[in-house]
């Protein structure tokens, strides 16, 4: 299906991009050296005068694939207005959301070796702008440019094709989406507590030898040092023994101000838990509370306490 944009883009096809782009500097040894160092190309014909003189080339030549570097604009960004027809085309594609770019094809035919002292310019023709295509990177349009490289006498040194994909970058994750609540570190000793919460039960560890309750879960009874234990299901009623209202630092998974209570259970042990359903300013020591189970996601359910 052809759209207005397709029509507008078609108008660029077959057109010359504008006046020649002239390289900032003539072909020179320092730039060849930098390029060879970046690529790791140690071919002596690019930098070793004597070896190059003895070669079929009779002197130093620039690496053929370095061609593009002789006319690159460098750090200067695309002009906001004016410039070449290619600049105008890319501005239009940017404005339509095709802001990302990758190269997809490069074809170079070399008519002669490029040597220090040559001063290259390019004459570009926009060959085609494709319809919108779905690619692995996202939806985009292929832009094919034919670029002729000429020397300072206007003689062609190379003919090239360069195709890029201008594409719409994938949507960023929604910044307002909440990160998941941090996971508790589950161990052999405390797994029963979190499994219990998932099943809607407040399970408290009980020493199998002396019968005392303990929380948080741990392997040894602090009263009789027994390693034997079981668990009881607490009724979930208790009072606020102490509390803090946390303002800072803020972790994105939580709401602030965040009241956190030390809850004394009727059964006689205490546990740390969120206090919900109350203005944090109204939390008081001695406040009667009742457990409920809050499901945060598929994996995590935790007990929280609400005033009764």
């Amino acid at each position: 299906m052809s759209t207005d944009l397709d029509q507008r883009l078609k108008e660029y096809e077959g057109k010359e991009a504008g006046g020649p782009e002239v390289g900032a500097d003539p072909v020179n040894i320092p730039m060849i050296r930098h390029w060879c160092e970046a690529i790791g190309d140690q071919n002596p014909v690019y930098l070793d005068e004597a070896a190059a003189a003895a070669s079929v080339h009779g002197g130093i030549i620039a690496p053929p694939v370095m061609l593009q570097a002789w006319v690159m604009r460098g750090i200067k960004s695309r002009p906001a207005t004016g410039g070449s027809l290619t600049d105008e085309l890319y501005r239009l594609l940017d404005a339509e959301g095709y802001t990302s770019v990758v190269a997809t094809n490069c074809e170079q035919e070399y008519h002669r070796a490029v040597r220090p002292g040559d001063h290259l310019s390019t004459i570009a023709t926009i060959e085609s702008v494709s319809e919108e295509k779905t690619t692995a990177l996202g939806v985009g349009r292929f832009v094919t440019n034919r670029i002729r490289y000429v020397d300072q006498h206007g003689e062609p040194v190379a003919d090239t094709l360069f195709r890029i994909l201008k594409f719409k970058p994938p949507a960023k994750p929604d910044a307002t989406e909440r990160p998941p609540r941090p996971r508790p570190a589950i161990t052999q000793d405390n797994a029963f507590f979190f499994d219990g919460a998932k099943a809607g039960k407040l399970l408290i560890q009980k020493c199998a030898s002396c019968g005392k309750l303990r929380h948080p879960p741990r392997p040894v009874c602090p009263h009789c040092r027994s390693l034997e234990w079981t668990a009881i299901e607490a009724a979930g009623r208790g009072t606020v023994y102490s509390f803090v209202v946390n303002h800072y630092p803020q972790v994105p998974a939580f709401d602030y101000p965040l009241p956190v209570g030390l809850i004394e259970l009727e059964e006689g042990t205490r546990l740390v838990s969120d206090i919900v359903g109350i203005d944090p300013a109204d939390v008081k020591i001695g406040l009667p509370v009742q457990v409920e189970f809050q499901r945060f996601d598929d994996e995590l359910t935790l007990p929280v306490f609400r005033p009764v």
Partner: protein
């Protein structure tokens, strides 16, 4: 590197392979050497803001590496034509392996031409750059 003569080359011959682990330093050096300062190649912060896992390699860096493997093989013989397709983006930490294979040889307009097929893959065999080249080689005759 030793000179390679047209007579020494046969269809199916393979050139020596280059192996190279791509680093962010490579990308910075190549940006400076080529004048391609697209921040997606050199600015990790901007690349991540754009939804990418990290900066990614310049296509022409991979193409340059693959061309080096070709010219290492054909010696200082003249590269006439080089044509590549950038199949996948490249990422720092990947190790590239080049492959250059002779697909044919012919004489044309007094030149001794050798056609080559070339690919650059990563350590998992994923093709990053694939293409072909033609080089003119000296003759013993």
């Amino acid at each position: 590197m030793a000179d390679l003569y047209f007579e020494d080359v046969n269809e199916g011959d393979e050139g020596p392979s280059i192996s190279h682990e791509l680093t962010r330093t490579d990308l910075v050096m190549y940006a400076g050497a080529s004048g391609d300062f697209n921040p997606m190649h050199t600015d990790e912060v901007k690349a991540k803001e754009a939804g990418l896992p990290s900066v990614f390699g310049h296509g022409m860096f991979s193409a340059g590496l693959l061309a080096t493997a070709i010219t290492n093989y054909v010696g200082i013989g003249t590269l006439k034509r080089y044509k590549v397709r950038f199949a996948k983006q490249t990422w720092p930490g990947e190790t590239f392996i080049t492959s250059v294979k002779v697909t044919g040889k012919r004489k044309e307009d007094g030149e001794n031409l050798v056609d080559l097929e070339c690919t650059l893959t990563n350590q998992d065999g994923e093709v990053k750059v694939a293409g072909e080249a033609t080089a003119a080689l000296p003759s013993r005759g």
